[in-house]
Amino acid sequence: MKGDEPNFPARSKRKLSRFLARKMLYDFICDRLDSDRTKAVEEFIGEDWETRTELEYIQGGLKYCGDLSLTRISEPLMQEIREHKGFWARVRTGHWWRDWPESIKWGVEAAVLSGVAALVAMWIPWSKVAHLLPSSRDEVVLVEIDKDQKPAGTAKNGDKSLSDQGEGRALLPVTVGKDASTLNPSLHDTAEEKESGSTEGSTKGSAKEVAETRKSTIQPSKVAEDEEVGDPVQGVRGGSESETAEPQENIIKGASSLKGFVYRAFMSLDQLDQVSPKIVAEIKQLNGAKAGQVELGWRKPKGSYFHFSLPESNYEKLMSALKSFGPVRIYKDPHWRVMPQGQIRFILWVEDNQVKK
């Protein structure tokens, strides 16, 4: 029935807001809106100049981008990008090294050679190879002692020198004894006379030198050319002299390996055969014992040899005992043999005056 058709009221026209219109501007330009919306936007743009301005902006931006999109890529650039090879691809083809500049090639070669040289230097055991290399020795050998062989200058009758027990004399420092204040001037002259014919290894000097040594000066020795010699103790004298009153011990150490020392004493006495046993008794009384292979007071053609150790505390007593027999000259030499603490070692040579005469 015609009258049954529904009568819809006329739709009221919806007005587009500015917000919606601006949001639809891009779609409007791209023609993505339906007909109704397109018409609504068109009407709004006609009425609102701000929206119209924004429309022009978007259109201007699109046009500008369209012009820029006409940018072309040159053929060399295109080919360079197309034929570009990666790092490992260039290494594999071998073109990479040849294309390097000369300075970089030289630098890499130098670095490789340096690395190889460093590795070789680290791996080779130089300590084992060093003895094969020639070496120039600048050091001077002062004394060379061969313990296995007899020393040169041994007497025909087999008389051994003081060094037969391995007591080689490397240096000849001289000490001033503790009893320097008791030096006897009368014995000084006797010591001078005997000094010219003193035993091997002793210091030779004139009277002037002896006098000078009283003042604790250091004299050169003939045994060791390059060594310094301290003052010998010119006998243990009864009187006191102010010049030699200094109870100092000037020790000159030799090579760094000679960490011990030995006292070397020299005497010249008459009637040695009677005196030697007394000296032995004195030594034993002071708890002295032989320190070498021969017995105390080993009688030799020219004198008696005493090699003994003694408690250090009995040193003064020993000196007193020896001076009662005659003048004594004492040296303190560095030696490789180190005695136990509290013990000192002596080598006493008593020359027979009768044999000398």
């Binding site: 949001k23 501007l25 891009y26 779609d27 924004e54 022009e56 902006y57 978007i58 259109q59 201007g60 931006g61 699109l62 500008y64 981008c65 369209g66 012009d67 820029l68 999109s69 006409l70 940018t71 072309r72 890529i73 040159s74 060399p76 650039l77 295109m78 360079e80 990008i81 197309r82 570009h84 990666g86």
Partner: protein, 151 residues
């Protein structure tokens, strides 16, 4: 999209994104290799190249942010042949003033000609988001080109 078109798209993208020729050359090569690798690993058809280009070029975002703060380093004879009469001034200002996402959206759509759908697929966002960014971007660019841009 043939190989030459792909190279052209990538070269134009990095040139206009960074305005640095040296960076553009190296980045184009790297991006091309990544796109080929992605297409090969995913066994994607050639039609997916535009979205792959969007995805790969978007991964250069940190370096593009750096380029935004650096002055332009281009010469007009380096390999990118800009049409005569076109002034790059508005584009340089647009690069500095616009938001980076809107800038890139304009670059993909307006210069490279990639569709909104491909851009949305490459970025993983909706088409509406892409069109919103484009609307804002073109608005700013148009205002700058007319010298009427105000922040």
């Amino acid at each position: 999209m043939n190989d030459e078109a792909r190279i052209r798209s990538l070269a134009l993208f990095f040139f206009f994104a960074s305005l640095d020729e040296k960076f553009s050359r190296s980045a184009t090569v790297k991006a091309l290799n990544r796109c080929r690798k992605r297409i090969g690993q995913g066994h994607l058809p050639n039609e997916k190249w535009p979205s792959v280009i969007v995805h790969v070029t978007h991964s250069f975002l940190p370096k593009l942010k750096q380029a935004k703060s650096q002055p332009a380093a281009i010469s007009y004879e380096a390999g990118w042949l800009i049409p005569e009469g076109i002034d790059l001034g508005p584009w340089m200002e647009f690069q500095k003033e616009a938001e980076l996402e809107e800038f890139l959206a304009v670059l993909w759509s307006g210069i490279l000609g990639i569709s909104d759908e491909a851009i949305s697929e490459g970025l993983g966002v909706t088409v509406g988001t892409v069109r919103h960014r484009l609307a804002r971007g073109f608005l700013v660019l148009g205002a700058i080109s007319r010298g009427e841009f105000r922040q």
